[in-house]
């Protein structure tokens, strides 16, 4: 990917890729950390298997959405063998663009009164 890559050209993202981007939005995480964060933030509804997770990571590294981090948040507490990942600038822009796209979809669904009976949505 070139630095001029337009985030919109990479949309729509697969659910797994978007969940991984969301998990890495606030901090660097290793594979297990990403998996735990995704399961936690979706109340266990989305559980990525190792193959799905690392298959997505492979493609996201190739697309320059994430990168491996050399730093360890707390080397004392953590296993040195784990590889940490963080969002790149492009990854952040793509996550924002996908969130915007999904928000537009939700707005359209709301306008069509499809979300009236969904709990928590007014």
């Amino acid at each position: 990917m070139t630095p001029m890559t337009q985030p919109e050209s990479m949309l729509p993202l697969t659910p797994a890729v978007f969940h991984i981007l969301l998990a890495l939005c606030d901090q660097e995480r290793h594979g297990y950390g990403i998996m735990q964060e995704v399961a936690h933030s979706t109340a266990g509804e989305v559980r990525l298997g190792p193959g799905t997770l690392y298959g997505s990571i492979k493609r996201m590294l190739a697309a320059d959405l994430i990168e491996e981090s050399a730093e360890r948040p707390d080397p004392e507490l953590d296993d040195q063998r784990r590889r940490y990942y963080r969002l790149t600038d492009l990854g952040q822009r793509v996550a924002r663009a996908e969130a915007g796209r999904l928000a537009n979809l939700v707005q359209r669904a709301q306008a069509k009164q499809l979300l009236l009976n969904v709990r928590g949505v007014t």
Binding site: Y32, R47, G49, P50, G51, K58
Partner: protein, 215 residues
């Protein structure tokens, strides 16, 4: 499950998972195999802590299905990458098929439809229907299937397949934007195959409509 046997079971589970990783392409295993086995060890430990051996069993059940699907996807992805790397070779082979079939089609039209006297018989040795050998069948088959093979060779590098299992299993197919030359060659292959089909229908029209009883 007590802590000691739990640790042993998780380690054993991770070791077994390393065998399952053999389903994945070697390059994928080289890049991520160690991390995946490590991660699976963590997942096994969690499953044992939460639901005991039943949890571990359920984890394995889900993992088998996931591994089969994702390994298939990784092989497809590797294969596509290989095809892209060998795109020139594939295009060249496709061109050979196309030229081989195309020249026979052209010579056939010249000789039998336009009545042009050719200085040589291009079909000598290929139309001995009395005793067709495997060699004759193969060469004739190649003439007819040439455009199809050429089309596949021009198309495959731009084909992107993915086995998806979001609820119901399916294969999704998408296309990478190909070059203009690739599109022209694919068009030429389809045109030639279409010509063969028309020729076949024309030659066997009476048989196909039932007007002629023995074909």
């Amino acid at each position: 499950v007590n802590a000691f046997s739990g640790r042993r079971a998780a380690a054993c589970s991770a070791r077994l998972y390393e065998w399952l990783l053999l389903l994945y392409p070697a390059s994928f295993r080289r890049d991520f195999g160690r991390d995946m086995a490590h991660l699976f060890g963590d997942l096994s430990r969690d499953a044992l802590q939460q639901r005991g051996y039943l949890g571990l069993l359920l984890l394995w059940q889900a993992t088998f299905k996931e591994a089969a699907v994702t390994a298939f996807n990784e092989h497809l992805s590797e294969w596509r990458k290989d095809m892209q790397a060998r795109q020139r070779i594939a295009t060249l082979i496709g061109l050979v098929f196309l030229i081989y079939s195309g020249s026979f089609a052209a010579l056939n039209v010249l000789k039998y439809n336009l009545g042009v006297q050719l200085p040589f018989d291009p079909f000598a040795g290929l139309t001995d229907s009395a005793s067709p050998t495997l060699w004759i069948i193969a060469w004739n088959g190649l003439i007819i299937l040439g455009p199809v093979l050429a089309f596949a060779l021009f198309l495959l590098p731009s084909l992107k397949m993915k086995f998806d299992f979001a609820g119901d299993e399916r294969i999704t197919v998408s296309f990478r934007k190909g070059s203009r030359l690739g599109l022209i060659l694919m068009g030429a292959s389809l045109l030639l195959f279409g010509l063969f089909c028309l020729y076949f229908i024309g030659e066997n029209f009476a048989c196909l409509t039932g007007e002629q009883l023995s074909c």
